[in-house]
Point group: C2
Chain length 371, copies 2
């Protein structure tokens, strides 16, 4: 299966707004603030010292023995809005894992397509003249790093580094599991003030072509474009996005309650919506990202790994967990997860049980098209 | 000034019991359980695969350009008793900082002479055939790593590593302060289950000869011997220890209350003593180590950096913070701190204010002899 979308060969200044919108929607509330990610990338592409565009490479065109590294930001989205990045955290982490491994990285890939983390590899690519693989490790965003298809499908936890905005760097060696790396790197990220720039893991082109979720940079850009086109045409931008993704509208209403706290480096909480006309309510729980949606009776309607996307009722713009506030009018989309996220080995790590919910994954109906 | 004690040239099996007793007393309640440290070293020295003794080198005899590394255990003493060490955490950390720096270590040194951390470098020395410097970075034990004379007197935070008992290793690079290294390595130690084996920093022989507290391995051994000799002769072992250290007896009584909790990787709390005959009480607060002693009126009698040592009333054996319990009969010794700990730059880091007490350091009276 695949989405019926064009596959881009580069990202230019003209794509940033639409990529940001699409990555925000796919981010299911997290993945880092897409506006900040976009501004950072825009600054680089406008700078004469750097190229005007970043080359995208189709994962199926990667040489089998290419060395691919994932880079991005770690931390709670709430924090990244107040604690700005220094800008070279990811590139310093990348250099560290190149040093340690003795390998030279040939291409970068987002760990998650959602939010700012779709932009982080593009920023590093602009600074290093490397291409970015048109794919990612989630097809959305998830709060923890072991939830990446890279680790789910067996990339060893080989070389990993996190760096803060002052250049303090922590390197992880001989780590026995991705969950352990998550625990260690999360504790360090908290000590680094709640945000760090990471590089991990190193993968072969062959692995990436098989186990990364394909064409998601193109998908995010096309999704943003569909929303924009509908706005320009005066049609419904939310419907435009939903149709492209093959999802369904779970709810429409306004936010009447938000519980949010930062704990152990995550933004945790829930948001409650009531219908604008009907008497129904919907509660969505989140850990950086939206995880599950419950109806009036507390029944789980939709759960991870399917995507729960909050968008502005009128503009179709994504609503992130750090920006939820009373009175907002939003619509909630449920989007079937990429197939790579729905295998038994994936559900062990990113199914509802993995997040502590006592239900099995009941997938949303899926189209012929899709991922 | 110096203690009038013989300077040892090696540590053999025969020294372990006395070294453990002395290091326990100097550990001021922490520094790791000295009995566990002793058993680990004993096992190595009894093993035919390793030498029968570890060479001690006088810090004044170190070549100026020798490379000296400190190794030991990090974590709360309460935890080390239940979560045994794997045995090669420190040596793996040592190899990591040798790798990173490209340097070969010529000698090891304890970061603190107190508790098990006097033994850790001896264990690594037995396995690597390296000598151990007869000195340490505290002349006692302190809870945090920036409290080492190595960092107080300006060794850069250069190469640092921590490893757990499964071989998971975290390496710290370009860290901008010793306090930052403490925060990062402590968070990792908590994630590693509350105990890790560390190696940091790398120092020159010239630096160590000037800024390490000298002859403390010999001092701890001689202190244990003085206690043992008094036991054998039927004289008072507590007095024997006190006389050697030039300290005073602050209190004698029994433990009537203990508050203890593990938080952020530390054993925190307080212990209250009442006099056996008189109506007086003494309260001692601790963070891994005993920090301050208060009288009935809440007045601070003795504070860091001076040593507050709890010993068994009859045997003179050290009482560690993890072993405090209701009903124990103990005597409390106050021992003047090494001079290297009483300079203005040292008091900034290890004086009572540095631990959050609103008093200035009021030193215990000190003898002609001492450190």
């Amino acid at each position: 299966m695949s989405f019926d979308i064009p596959h881009l060969t580069e990202i230019t200044l003209d794509d940033l707004e639409t990529l940001g919108t699409g990555a925000g929607i796919l981010g299911t509330g997290g993945g880092g603030n897409p506006r900040l990610g976009r501004l950072r990338l825009q600054t680089l592409l406008e700078d004469d010292a750097y190229p005007d565009s970043v080359e995208l490479v189709d994962p199926r065109d990667l040489p089998a023995d290419a060395t691919v590294a994932s880079v991005g930001g770690m931390g709670a989205p709430t924090i990244s809005v107040e604690k700005f990045a220094g800008g070279d955290e990811e590139i310093q982490s990348l250099r560290a894992i190149e040093d340690l491994s003795g390998e030279t990285v040939d291409a970068l890939i987002p760990g998650e397509i959602g939010g700012a983390n779709s932009m982080a590899p593009l920023c590093v690519a602009a600074m290093t003249d490397l291409p970015v693989v048109d794919a990612d490790g989630m097809g959305r965003a998830f709060p923890e790093l072991q939830m990446d298809t890279f680790f789910i499908y067996g990339t060893p936890v080989n070389y990993a580094a996190t760096t803060d905005e002052r250049g303090n760097q922590v390197v992880y060696r001989d780590i026995d599991s991705a969950k352990r790396l998550e625990d260690l790197a999360r504790a360090i990220t908290v000590q680094m003030g709640g945000r760090s720039g990471y590089a991990f893991p190193l993968m072969t082109g062959e692995f990436v072509s098989e186990f990364a979720v394909p064409h998601t940079v193109s998908l995010a850009t096309e999704l943003g474009r569909a929303v924009e086109r509908a706005r320009d045409a005066g049609t419904d931008p939310v419907d435009a996005g939903r149709e492209l993704l093959g999802g369904e509208e779970l709810f429409a209403g306004k936010i009447v309650d938000v519980h949010r706290r930062n704990r152990d480096g995550f933004a945790l909480g829930s948001v409650t919506l009531t219908g604008l006309t009907a008497d129904a309510t919907l509660e969505i729980e989140f850990q950086n990202e939206f995880l599950v949606a419950r109806d009036d009776d507390g029944e789980l309607l939709t759960t991870v790994p399917d995507l729960i996307c909050l968008v502005d009722t009128d503009t179709g713009a994504p609503v992130m967990t750090d920006a939820l506030r009373y009175g907002q009018r939003v619509r909630v989309l449920g989007v079937p997860a990429p197939e790579l996220l729905t295998t038994p080995e994936a559900l062990d790590v990113i199914g509802p049980e993995a997040f502590g919910y006592d239900v099995s994954y009941d997938p949303l109906p899926r189209d012929e098209t899709g991922w």
